[in-house]
C-alpha cells in the first residue's frame, strides 16, 4: 500500500510522475492495450486504470484550465473564416442570389450540395448516441458527447444554406405554417416542406439529447467551482483585471443554472436513464427519417438521375459514412493535442469507427453501381444518358473523385494495421469527407445541367461568393467545436465512470458475482473501518 494520500497520488499520476497502479505495459499486438480479439477478454474502456477522481479531474480540467497554446491561433483563424463567410452571406442578401454561379438550368448547386453535405455529417452524432446506445455498444461513451456536439454544429451549418437560398431571405419565415396576411398555408405535399419539419425536429431533438446528457456533467463542474469558492472565497482567478468577478463564481452560476440543480440522486438517475433510453429509441427512427426526407427532395421529382427509389437508404448510409469521417477528423487531432485524452479515445475507438466507414462505404459503393444497373435495366434512355453523362460527361472528374474517395479509399480498412494507424485513418477520413461532398455535387449538378432538351444545356461554375460561403461554413463549424472543447464537458463523465470496472456494485466480490445474498461479510468488513471522521450535532 502506498503511504501518500489518494489526492496526492492522483496529482502525481496526472502529472505522469507515477506509473498507473495496475497498468504496466500493454500486451504485445494489442496496440495501446485495447485491441483485444480474444473472446471472453474485455478490453479496457479507459486506459491507465483511472480512478473516478482522475476521470473527473482530467475531463473537468479541459474546461477549467487555460486552453492549450494552439487553441488561440486556431480559434482566431476559424472565427475569421466564419466572419468572412458571414460577410459574404450579407453581400448575398443585399445583392441577390445572382451573385452565385446558378443559372436557369442549374438552379441548385453548391447551396444545396452544402446543405446535404452538412446535414449528412450530423448523422454520425445521433447514430453514436442513439443507435449504438440501443445496441449496448459501451465504447460509444467516450465519443458520444463530441459527436453529438458536432451534430448540432453541422445542423447549424446545414440550416444556413436553404435559409439563404430562398432568394428573398427576409421571407424565410414563410417556410413555417405561420398565419399571414395572404391567409395561405405552406404546401404540405411538398418534400421541401417535409424537409423543414424533419431538419428542425432533428436539430431540436439532437439538442435536447445533447443537453440532457450534459446536465450531470454541468453539475460536476458546478460543484467543483463551488468547492473551490468555499475553500478560498477571496482567492482564485479574477475574470478580467478590471472586473472584480472571480471565474469560479461565474462557473458556479452558469454551470449551476445549466445543471438544473441536478444532485445525483438514485431516484433521479432511474428516471434519467429511462428518459435517455426513450430519447435514444425515438432518435433512431428520426435519424433514419431525416436523410430519407432529404433524399425525397430529389427522388420525388422527375429529373433523370434523381427519380430513383434507392435514394432514401443510399442517402442514410452515405450520411453515416460521411459523419463518421468527420468525427474521426475532429477526434484524431484532439486526442493528440489534449493531455490524457488517449486514455478515453483509445485505438479501439478508432478501429471501430474505421470498420463502420468500411461497411457504409461499401453500401454507398453498392448504391452507385445499382443506380447504374437500374438506369440500364429500366430501359429509360434519359435515365441512362444521365448516368453515362456522370461518368464520361463534362463532370467526369467530379464523378471519379467521388468513386476514388468513397469506394476505393476505405478499402484499405480491410487490414487491421491500416485501421489502427491513426495517420491512415485520418487521411482516409479526409478523402471520404471530400468524396461525400463530391457525391452531393455529382447528384445535384450533373443531373440538372443536361435535362431533356439540348438547347437548355448549361455548365455550372462557382463564383467567389459560392466558395466563400462554403469555406465560411467550415469556419463556423470549427469555431463552435473549439468553443465546445474549451467550455463544455467534452466527455460524458457520468457515463464513462459507469463503464469503469470499479463502478460495478459487485466489484471486488470474488466469486459471488450477482449473488446478492452473499454480501454480508463485505458490509461487516466495511462497518468497522468507518465513522472516525463522522461528526454530528446532537438531536433532540
Amino acid at each position: 500500500m502506498t503511504s501518500i494520500n489518494p489526492d496526492q497520488l492522483t496529482a502525481e499520476r496526472l502529472a505522469g510522475r507515477v506509473r498507473p497502479a495496475l497498468g504496466g505495459e500493454p500486451a504485445p499486438g494489442t496496440g495501446d492495450g485495447t485491441l483485444v480479439d480474444t473472446p471472453g477478454v474485455r478490453p479496457p474502456m479507459v486506459l491507465n486504470n483511472r480512478s473516478f477522481k482522475e476521470v473527473t479531474d482530467i475531463i473537468c480540467g479541459y474546461a477549467e484550465n487555460p486552453p492549450p497554446r494552439w487553441w488561440f491561433p486556431l480559434f482566431g483563424l476559424s472565427a475569421t473564416i466564419a466572419g468572412l463567410g458571414g460577410a459574404f452571406i450579407l453581400y448575398l442578401v443585399i445583392t441577390g442570389i445572382g451573385t452565385w454561379g446558378l443559372n436557369n438550368q442549374v438552379d441548385w448547386a453548391w447551396d444545396i450540395t452544402n446543405f446535404v453535405f452538412w446535414i449528412g455529417i450530423g448523422h454520425a452524432g445521433t447514430l453514436i448516441s442513439a443507435i449504438l446506445c440501443l445496441l449496448k455498444q459501451k465504447w460509444r461513451t467516450a465519443v458520444n458527447r463530441a459527436a453529438e456536439a458536432m451534430t448540432i454544429f453541422a445542423v447549424i451549418c446545414a440550416a444556413t444554406f436553404p435559409g439563404i437560398h430562398v432568394g428573398r431571405q427576409w421571407m424565410a419565415w414563410m417556410l413555417f405554417p405561420i398565419p399571414n396576411s395572404n391567409a395561405i398555408w405552406p404546401n404540405f405535399r411538398s418534400p421541401l416542406l417535409w424537409d423543414v419539419f424533419a431538419v428542425s425536429t432533428y436539430g431540436t431533438v439532437s439538442f435536447l439529447f445533447w443537453y440532457m446528457g450534459m446536465m450531470p456533467d454541468f453539475a460536476t463542474l458546478r460543484d467543483r467551482a463551488d468547492r473551490r469558492l468555499r475553500a478560498n472565497p477571496d482567492g482564485g482567478a479574477v475574470l478580467l483585471p478590471f472586473l472584480p468577478i472571480r471565474t469560479d463564481a461565474i462557473r458556479a452560476y452558469v454551470y449551476g443554472f445549466l445543471s438544473m440543480g441536478w444532485r445525483f440522486s438514485g431516484r433521479h438517475w432511474h428516471r434519467y436513464e429511462t428518459a435517455y433510453l426513450i430519447l435514444a429509441g425515438i432518435s433512431t427512427p428520426l435519424v433514419l427519417s431525416v436523410h430519407s426526407i432529404v433524399s425525397f427532395d430529389f427522388a420525388t421529382s422527375v429529373i433523370p438521375g434523381w427519380h430513383t427509389t434507392i435514394f432514401p437508404p443510399y442517402f442514410v448510409a452515405g450520411a453515416i459514412f460521411g459523419g463518421f469521417a468527420m468525427v474521426l477528423l475532429l477526434l484524431i487531432p484532439a486526442r493528440e493535442l489534449f493531455a490524457n485524452m488517449k486514455d478515453f479515445i483509445t485505438l479501439r475507438h478508432i478501429e471501430n469507427m474505421a470498420k463502420i466507414i468500411l461497411v457504409t462505404g461499401m453500401m454507398v459503393g453498392f448504391a452507385y453501381s445499382m443506380e447504374f444497373f437500374i438506369a440500364w435495366y429500366g430501359g429509360n434512355e434519359y435515365e441512362l444518358y444521365a448516368f453515362k453523362n456522370r461518368a464520361v460527361g463534362p463532370y467526369w472528374w467530379a464523378y471519379w473523385s467521388m468513386i476514388a474517395c468513397n469506394v476505393l479509399s476505405p478499402q484499405v480498412f480491410w487490414f487491421k494495421s491500416m485501421r489502427t494507424s491513426v495517420v491512415v485513418v485520418f487521411i482516409v477520413s479526409f478523402l471520404v469527407t471530400i468524396g461525400m461532398w463530391f457525391e452531393r455535387f455529382v447528384i445535384i449538378v450533373t443531373s440538372l445541367h443536361r435535362a431533356f432538351l439540348p438547347g437548355e444545356w448549361h455548365m455550372f461554375s462557382p463564383t467567389l461568393v459560392d466558395i466563400s460561403i462554403f469555406v465560411g461554413s467550415f469556419g463556423v463549424f470549427l469555431t463552435l467545436f473549439l468553443l465546445f472543447l474549451r467550455f463544455l464537458p467534452v466527455f460524458a463523465m457520468s457515463e464513462i465512470k459507469a463503464v469503469l470496472p470499479q463502478a460495478s456494485p459487485h466489484y471486488g466480490h470474488h466469486g459471488d458475482h450477482g449473488d446478492h445474498a452473499g454480501h454480508g461479510h463485505h458490509s461487516e468488513q466495511a462497518g468497522h473501518t468507518g465513522n472516525d471522521t463522522g461528526h454530528s450535532k446532537g438531536a433532540h
Partner: protein
C-alpha cells in the same frame, strides 16, 4: 408548516442524516439494508447511475414512458390535424391534382411532430418527476456532499420518514458501512 419533529441544538430543523460510502458496492449493499429496514423517504447519491440500484432501493418503475407516449401521440395527432385543417378546410388549394385531404403526403410531418413532442415530453417529464429544476437543496449546504458529483457515494435518510430516529437510523447507517455520518439541517 408543521413543527419539525427533530431540531439541532441551535433550533434548526433537521432535514435528515447523510452518510458517506467509499464504493458503489458499499452503497449498493447499504441501500439493500435501508430498504429492508422499511424506510420510505431516503435516497442514494452517486456520480453515475449504479447498475441495479432500482432493485437495491426497492422503488417502482417510473411512469415516464407513459408520459412520453401521451406526448408523442398528442404531437402526431396535432401534426396531422394541422395539415388536414390547413390543406382541406381553411384554404383549399389544388396541388398536383391530389385530393385536399391526401393523408399519404401528410405522413412525414405527422411522424416528425410525434417525435418532437415525445422528446420534449421525455425531457420535461423527467425533470418534473424529479422535482427539477431546483437550484438549492439542504444537502448542497454540506461541502462533503459536493463530492457526490466526483467520486463519493452517499445515502440520505430524511427526518420526514416515519421510521426516522436520530440514534437508530444512525446506528443502521454505521452498521451498513458508512465512512462518515452527519446531520443535515433543513
Amino acid at each position: 408548516m408543521a413543527t419539525p419533529l427533530y431540531v439541532t441544538e441551535t433550533g434548526e430543523p433537521i432535514h435528515g442524516i447523510l452518510a458517506e460510502f467509499a464504493t458503489p458496492a458499499d452503497l449498493y449493499h447499504a441501500a439493500e439494508k435501508i430498504r429492508d429496514a422499511g424506510y420510505r423517504r431516503w435516497d442514494t447519491f452517486s456520480p453515475f447511475p449504479v447498475h441495479g440500484m432500482e432493485e437495491a432501493m426497492g422503488f417502482d418503475r417510473t411512469i415516464l414512458p407513459l408520459i412520453v407516449a401521451v406526448g408523442g401521440f398528442t404531437g402526431a395527432g396535432l401534426g396531422f390535424l394541422m395539415q388536414w385543417w390547413m390543406s382541406a378546410v381553411d384554404y383549399q388549394l389544388v396541388t398536383q391534382g391530389k385530393p385536399f385531404a391526401s393523408w399519404q403526403a401528410f405522413v412525414p410531418i405527422t411522424f416528425e411532430c410525434g417525435i418532437l413532442f415525445s422528446a420534449f415530453a421525455a425531457l420535461i417529464g423527467m425533470l418534473a418527476l424529479n422535482g427539477l429544476p431546483r437550484w438549492n437543496h439542504p444537502l448542497m449546504k454540506k461541502e462533503r456532499f459536493l463530492s457526490s458529483s466526483d467520486d463519493k457515494f452517499f445515502v440520505c435518510i430524511e427526518a420526514a420518514d416515519g421510521n426516522f430516529h436520530p440514534e437508530r437510523t444512525r446506528q443502521l447507517l454505521e452498521k451498513a458501512g458508512a465512512t462518515s455520518i452527519e446531520l443535515v439541517e433543513e
